[in-house]
Amino acid sequence: MENLNITGVHDVYFRPTVNLDADTGILEISGESYLEETVKFYKQILIWIENYIQEIDKPITFNFRLDYYNTTTSRSILDILDLLKLYQDKEGRVDVNWYCKEEELEYLQEDIEDLAEDSDIEINLIVL
């Protein structure tokens, strides 16, 4: 199975950097997310994760390193968390970490908590 790597771009829209590694099971999204076609962008990530679960069926460590995302993106993050929760419920091993700079905590913490509560999956908030 091929890895999915997307280089982030900070232009009129903000495309996050994506590194989904099928060999290590470490999946990361980092940077900022504010896109013209949010649903389409995250669809490829969701499809990759679905394939990983079906073909590889090994543990997943999902690292979010996003320090800005708009509300449209947050809906897609929820889609990812739902998929991971589904895998966890079927005995898949999943760890979700969210790396957050201390100065961003006030701005991000509540929504990360809300995403965790809404998807019923534990998100380890790691303050940098």
Binding site: V12, Y34, E36, Y68, R75, E104, E110, D114
Partner: protein, 184 residues
């Protein structure tokens, strides 16, 4: 054009300038992504406050409100095949807060929905607001792919009510203005 016309035009602009002496941004026109990028970069990067999350808050609020104008304004212009909403954006600085205002025409058919949403948001405390956000985000996406939680997130980030103003224009449209205070 005679002298009087010139003078009265100049006076009008001067009055306007004086009214807005603490204006940081004043824009009217299509909510084009390049213009929004320029304004957004200024909000994110300027020295309005050394406290970085404050700038990110202002930026986030700006993005959510600007996207609403771009997507839902009843006044549009076609540029390169895509339709852009037209509206007004003003950001002013006050002693203890910044004020971000957007205004645009809206079809009367959509007016009740947005006014109701703002009124609901203003009645909820913080925990209720977070619950409302989770419920809405869980629901189907908007016609533009949005999560239907932009205004809720704006209220949560600003910790202030959404101040709305509606002016009836005709049978078809109204002017809708939204003011958000962001504490310093």
């Amino acid at each position: 054009m005679d002298m009087m016309d010139n003078q009265s035009d100049a006076l009008t602009l001067w009055d306007y300038y004086m009214l807005n002496e603490k204006t940081q941004v004043s824009y009217q026109g299509p909510f084009d992504r390049h213009i929004l990028y320029a304004i957004g970069s200024m909000l994110k990067g300027n020295d309005v406050d050394d406290n970085k999350p404050f700038n990110k808050k202002t930026f986030s609020i700006f993005i959510e409100l600007a996207q609403n104008v771009a997507s839902y304004s009843a006044e549009n212009i076609k540029i390169n095949e895509s339709s852009l909403g037209i509206g007004t954006l003003i950001i002013t600085e006050h002693e203890n807060y910044y004020k971000l205002i957007t205004g645009n025409l809206i079809y009367n058919g959509s007016l009740d929905k947005i006014v109701d949403k703002c009124e609901t948001i203003n009645q909820l405390d913080r925990d209720e607001l977070r619950r409302f956000k989770r419920e809405q985000r869980r629901g189907p996406r908007s016609s533009h792919g949005g999560a239907n939680i932009g205004l809720i997130q704006v209220a949560l980030l600003s910790s202030n009510p959404l101040d709305i103003e509606v002016i009836a224009i005709d049978d078809d449209k109204s002017f809708f203005a939204l003011t958000v205070k962001i504490d310093k």
